[in-house]
């Protein structure tokens, strides 16, 4: 028990008029202190549901039906709401994709940062305000003394995301969950924010769970990566390993379909078809309908995570064959 966060076998379902439909199934990963883990996948693959499950922020019709989420040994799934509130915003903080909508437009920035300081650290209003100015300075906001008394609409997208990071950092969390933190930003602003996150991580030795669809961001920020497809983990390993030797056909397809800046390709390789919808999930491998290496076994039976190398697994029957061949 050395991991900070240990997610094992969680299944989160949402109640629809067709009954409970699982959005993610059998998702497991661990995150050590000070480590950056990336969860990557396309829209609808369940990466955001995974992060919301960890944070226990699922909407009313969502429910974790199986599995456990252990944070410092405590199972968050079983924790009563009052206990969870003590952890949320204090030990685990989160920043969201849309900096425009995740700040409260009718409260001043200073007040939004102070809130968690007063709640979790028992600071007075005046103390919290001083700390808020410090936090704004530490995330690189100019004129921090004036900005504390401004409303969010006065700031640009990049500045708002900095404020979000300041709020998240307020209680010095052990784990930061960043759900697509730079997707809504321009590339030059994205570079600034990623740079800031790297700096903060080093200073505070904080673990980051980075949710993104951008493999470029993963390559730059993460130590390890989990690739998700249609609600399941299809491949996981260290970043170097996965980029050097992508093993699941989906990961390979995903990497190939990004146009490269360095070289010129006549034609982009692409993955045919679309992600299957929740109610029509194939019985066997969920990628079978789009996979070029599909066999009868893939359609009949769902593969488990099979080892590719040490610390590198892929959910694909091809891995097994290789083992036999060797």
């Amino acid at each position: 028990m050395s991991s900070l966060l240990e997610v094992s076998g969680i299944k989160t379902s949402f109640l629809t008029n067709k009954g409970y439909l699982p959005a993610i199934e059998d998702v497991s990963f661990t995150l050590d202190k000070g480590e950056v883990l990336g969860i990557v996948g396309e829209s609808g693959c369940g990466k955001s549901v995974t992060s919301l499950s960890v944070m226990q922020l699922l909407s009313a019709n969502g429910k974790i039906q199986q599995g456990s989420i252990r944070f410092e040994g405590k199972d968050l799934v079983k924790l009563p709401d009052a206990e969870m509130r003590k952890i949320r915003g204090n030990d685990i903080a989160m920043i969201f994709q849309e900096p425009m909508t995740s700040l409260n437009p009718v409260h001043k920035i200073g007040r939004q940062i102070s809130e968690s300081l007063m709640l979790h650290k028992g600071m007075s209003r005046a103390q919290a305000r001083v700390k808020a100015v410090d936090l704004l300075k530490s995330v690189g906001i100019p004129r921090a003394e004036q900005i504390v008394d401004e409303y969010p609409h006065r700031l640009s997208g990049g500045m708002r995301q900095r404020v979000m990071i300041a709020i998240a950092m307020a209680c010095d969390p052990k784990l930061l969950i960043a759900d697509e933190p730079t997707t809504a930003l321009d590339v030059t602003i994205q570079a600034q924010i990623l740079d800031l996150m790297r700096k903060i991580r080093q200073e505070h030795n904080m673990a980051i769970l980075l949710i993104t669809h951008d493999l470029g961001v993963v390559a730059e920020m993460c130590d390890r990566v989990v690739v998700m497809y249609a609600g399941k983990v299809v491949e996981q390993g260290t970043v170097k390993e996965i980029f050097r030797n992508p093993s699941h056909p989906y990961t390979v397809g995903l990497m190939n379909s990004i146009p490269k800046l360095e070289e010129r390709q006549a034609r982009l390789p692409s993955i045919p078809g679309n992600v299957p919808s929740l109610e029509l999930m194939p019985k066997g491998c969920r990628f079978a309908t789009r996979c070029e290496f599909v066999t009868d076994k893939c359609i009949q039976e769902e593969p488990t995570l099979l080892p590719v190398e040490e610390n590198h697994d892929a959910r694909c029957w091809l891995m097994k064959k290789e083992e036999v061949a060797i």
Partner: protein, 323 residues
């Protein structure tokens, strides 16, 4: 230039800022401020820049979807900005646009067939309904959608499929030029590459000319022959796409290229991180618009706007460094 299909000359789009009870004009947002470029027949011209740089406004004012406040647009030798409403409608059948948002740009109450027939009816292209239907089926096949689904509504399709419908609608009137405004930015990468390949195939098949507007540099590089980089309503650099990426000249282009995360954890490179945010186009900085964020800013940059010059054959830039 004679071989240019589309020639944009000093295009300006200034939106007035009105204030007070009398709605008096107190200033202008210079969304597009003197942009010029030529697009040759059969080529793909890429337009990149960050949000608010005026790339979308440029695309729309070329088609006069918004009326430009200055400059000329020549299409096939005709000055588009001088045409009357009826003449403009006629020429629109040769210039079409594909929009960014495949969810918002299709009428939710029209079936695919109705959506695709509408431009044919407006331009009076086919004599009767059966011919139109034939053409609709042909178009669906061209963009890779099943003809059995032509009586469905947009909500029954995925994002990538909707974008294919948007492309089919643009093709319905046999255009020569298609302005593609961020056609793939709302799509996932695996679907994005399908749509990019489709655009590529269609260009070869129908000899189309594209103006491809996007913020994603790697996508623009992939599809374009030549690329123009915009910053705050002005064109700062224009070159052949390979050249621009190998040897960017303008400091803004250099910073923009270095900011793109490369999907390779072992790649090492120097990164230029720009300080600050994009200034407001209502109140742009003096001299060169880029000078407050520029790493190689000189005194002259603060006072004088740089000239748009051909620095090497086919490679244009507006920067005092090359004077």
């Amino acid at each position: 230039m004679t071989d240019a299909l589309l020639s944009v000359n000093d295009l300006k789009m200034h939106f007035p800022i009105r204030k007070g009870i009398l709605r008096r004009t107190v200033g202008y947002v210079r969304a597009v401020d003197g942009v010029s470029f030529d697009v040759k027949a059969g080529e793909t011209f890429g337009l990149v820049g960050e949000s608010g740089c005026g790339k979308t406004t440029t695309g729309r004012s070329i088609l006069r979807l918004i009326e430009p406040s200055g400059g000329q647009v020549f299409f096939n030798g005709k000055n588009v900005t001088k045409l009357s409403g009826t003449e403009m409608r006629k020429i629109r059948s040769e210039m079409q646009i594909v929009f960014q948002d495949p969810y918002g740009s299709l009428n939710p109450r029209y079936t695919v067939q109705q959506t695709l027939e509408e431009p044919m009816i407006i331009h009076n292209l086919y004599a009767d309904a059966s011919e139109r239907k034939k053409r609709v089926m042909e178009l669906l096949e061209v963009v890779g959608l099943s003809t059995s689904r032509m009586n469905r509504y947009p909500h029954e399709f995925s994002g990538g499929q909707r974008q294919r419908i948007g492309i089919a609608r643009a093709l319905a009137v046999n255009p020569k030029l298609i302005i593609a405004d961020e056609p793939v930015s709302a799509l996932d990468v695996s679907v994005q590459s399908q749509v990019l390949n489709l655009l590529d195939d269609l260009q070869k098949e129908f000899h189309l000319t594209y103006v491809f507007i996007a913020h994603d540099l790697s996508v623009v590089k992939h599809i374009s022959n030549r690329v123009g980089v915009m910053y705050l309503g002005k064109m700062v650099e224009l070159a052949e796409s390979d050249r621009l990426y190998e040897k960017p000249m303008h400091p803004y282009t250099q910073a923009l290229l270095s900011a793109v995360p490369i999907p390779n954890p072992e790649a090492k490179r120097e990164r230029i991180i720009l300080q600050g945010d994009l200034p407001s186009p209502a109140n742009p900085p003096s001299g060169c618009y880029f000078h407050p964020r520029c790493q190689s800013c000189m005194d002259i940059c603060k006072t004088t706007a740089p000239e748009w010059k051909e620095i090497e054959p086919g490679h244009f830039a507006a920067c005092h460094l090359y004077n």
